[in-house]
């Protein structure tokens, strides 16, 4: 299966042969070169090549002559012609004579990479070996999707069930529960796994940017757009698009989104060409979409289009059994990164971790372990190393406000006020992302004047 595909580059210019040779070598193809048509023909008779890249204009046998001769030997031979712009009409004749396609010099590397890949894939499909089709019985998890609790086992089952279909999946769960990891698990267990999963955080982008981000733009589409850029939907071709925080997009974008999800077609901003893309949609939200629909903030038709198969990730406080496993995973991770010899968590610290409510879920646990490992001096994490303990010293606790969540609420409010409610700055100090901070502000009902 790992046998390399063989490419023969035929060009009379040494410099072109060498450039293409190195480029394809890095792409992990077996590459060979020929300086003229006769040599290429001799090589082709002795050895089969999966693809030939042939310069149209060569002294002696031309690219077109070589095309006909090779096609006479093997009618399925895959040939891409390289031509100067001026000879495009000849290239069109070549297509009629059986060339797979042609490219004009100089070629956009992206275009060449996709063309060659597509050509070789089509060839592979012709000689498809169905045994190569996956036979996955067990779900492959991303390295950091951790959990052995019955809730997580249930999620693995759901991932397994839905992965091999093309069904749209809605992942719900509080911030920090690992929605993107579950999306990734679905993707890498699907037949789309060799193509990328493209995450888009819809909440993090302004509407004007979101459009260009999702659909791409042409060169010169707006001031400063010196190069064209493909959008996320285009990049997700044959892969998966993961739309996080879907509840935060505007009604106008919802209409666009519904249209693209249904037709799988769109235009780049500032472009007329209709782009087609074969993508799977996975969305995530921690907002009650049903309520947004009732309030007229989320389109009902889009909601039904997206709500096909739902996976709900429980918050960490509802699967406390996973906390020791997660803690151990993060300790290993940060031991390597920080080059520290921390091996375990003391019993007291573990009791604390297991009993804490983790409003920021797994992400908060990860941050807590990281900070504990930075400040800790021994090879075991102690209660004193945990960030909560440190921040507790700075607080005056009143009356019954002694729970961790009330402490967190007070601390967040303190940081926000100290930074004049600058969300980015406060999030940076709190070492959480802006979305998590917004969620906490909503959760605790914090307001600027309250402090």
């Amino acid at each position: 299966m790992d046998q390399k595909e063989k490419i023969l580059i035929v060009d009379d210019e040494k410099i072109v042969r060498e450039s293409l040779y190195h480029w394809f070598e890095e792409e992990d193809y077996a590459v060979d070169t020929a300086e003229d048509g006769e040599t290429a023909l001799n090589k082709y008779e002795k050895e089969k090549y999966d693809l030939l890249l042939v310069d149209m204009k060569m002294p002696g046998m031309s690219g077109l002559d070589l095309l006909s001769k090779i096609k006479a030997i093997d009618k399925d031979a895959l040939i891409i012609l390289i031509t100067a712009f001026a000879s495009v009409p000849t290239a069109i004749t070549a297509l009629k004579n059986g060339a797979y396609d042609y490219v004009t010099k100089p070629v956009d590397p992206d275009e060449l990479a996709h063309l060659v890949k597509k050509a070789l894939e089509q060839r592979a499909l012709k000689i498809e070996n169905t045994q190569l089709k996956e036979n996955i019985d067990e779900i492959i998890k991303p390295d950091n999707l951790i959990g052995d609790s019955f809730q997580m086992k249930k999620i693995y089952e759901l991932v397994h069930t839905v992965a091999r279909t093309d069904t749209t999946v809605m992942i719900r769960g509080e911030s920090g529960t690992g929605k993107e990891l579950v999306a990734k698990a679905i993707h890498i267990n699907s037949s789309r796994k060799y193509f990328p999963i493209i995450p888009v955080n819809c909440g993090a982008l302004a509407e004007s940017l979101l459009e260009s981000e999702l659909f791409g733009h042409e060169k010169g589409a707006f001031t400063g757009a010196q190069f064209k850029r493909k959008g996320k939907f285009e990049m997700a071709d044959r892969g998966t698009i993961f739309l996080d925080e879907i509840g935060s997009i505007s009604l106008k974008m919802q209409i666009e989104l519904l249209r693209v999800i249904e037709t799988k077609q769109f235009n780049r901003v500032g472009g007329n060409e209709l782009i087609k893309s074969d993508f799977r949609v996975i969305i995530a939200t921690n907002e009650p979409l049903e309520e947004l629909v009732k309030a007229g903030k989320f389109r009902e038709d889009l909601y039904y289009r997206l709500n096909v198969f739902t996976i709900v990730i429980p918050p960490l406080r509802e699967r406390r059994d996973d906390i020791p496993l997660l803690a151990s995973f993060f300790i290993n991770k940060f031991s390597t990164v920080m080059n520290k010899q921390v091996k375990s968590v003391s019993k007291e610290a573990m009791d604390f971790l297991v009993n804490y409510d983790w409003p920021g879920n797994v992400r908060e646990l990860e941050n807590a372990i990281e900070r504990a490992m930075v400040v800790g001096k021994s090879n075991s994490i102690l209660v004193d190393d945990l960030p909560f303990h440190v921040s507790m010293n700075n607080f005056e606790l009143e009356g019954d406000e002694k729970s961790l969540s009330s402490m967190e609420r007070k601390y967040i409010l303190k940081i926000l006020n100290e930074n004049n409610w600058n969300i980015s700055k406060s999030a940076l100090i709190l070492e959480i992302d802006r979305v998590t901070l917004y969620n906490k502000i909503t959760k605790y009902g914090l307001r600027k004047a309250e402090y």
Binding site: E13, I15, V16, E18, S19, L20, H22, W23, E25, E26, E27, D28, I82, K105, P106, V107, D108, P109, D110, L112, A113, H114, Y194, F195, P196, I197, I198, L209, S212, F222, T223, G224, A225, Q226, F227, R229, K230, M235, T336, V337, N339
Partner: protein, 176 residues
């Protein structure tokens, strides 16, 4: 084995400093910034308005015998090889030299908005990518691996910023 960064027509001291710091974190090898006395204008193509990367590497090879390790030539200018419209960089597979241009890694060329963090992230990815080639790695099919091919800026942004488990084993002195 040490890693040498040779700026050639490279003007961002901050980016260079950050690159050195990041590579130092990731490799146990020592990272040096070196000065190579060569004029890359000799490899400028007036026709294309770009610099021929293969020829720059060939010239640098003549001038860097004294440095025992991997050498990244770092530049702000736009690079090309014949046939292709541009390259982000070029490397000698299993060799000593590579070149990386940050010209097309600048976000303002795409969106019109400058983003220094993104530029740094892209520079790190492409520097690791070219170094990976020097350590003998070819392109990897894993999108989370920095050795995934990136013919366009979109792929640079999508791919991961470190080596996958399979590729990492070939990189000498890589910590994480």
């Amino acid at each position: 084995m040490d890693i040498f960064i040779a700026p050639l027509k490279f003007y961002s001291a901050v980016l260079l400093q950050n690159l050195v710091a990041e590579l130092s974190k990731r490799f146990s090898s020592r990272i040096h910034v070196i000065n190579i006395k060569m004029d890359i204008d000799d490899f400028f193509s007036v026709e294309r308005g770009q610099y021929f990367s293969t020829q720059i590497i060939a010239e640098a090879m003549k001038l860097t015998d004294e440095f025992n390790g991997k050498i990244i030539l770092l530049t702000d200018v736009d690079l090309f090889v014949p046939v292709l419209t541009f390259v982000f960089g070029e490397a000698q597979l299993n060799g000593k030299h590579s070149i990386l241009s940050v010209c097309r890694l600048h976000e303002e060329f795409y969106s019109g908005i400058s983003n220094e963090n993104l530029l740094f992230e892209r520079t790190i990815k492409e520097a690791l990518h070219e170094l990976g080639h020097c350590y003998g790695l070819r392109h990897c099919i894993d999108w989370d691996c920095v050795m995934h091919s990136s013919p366009g800026i979109e792929e640079v942004d999508i791919k991961g910023n470190s080596f996958c488990r399979k590729c990492i084993s070939k990189i000498e002195g890589y910590k994480h």
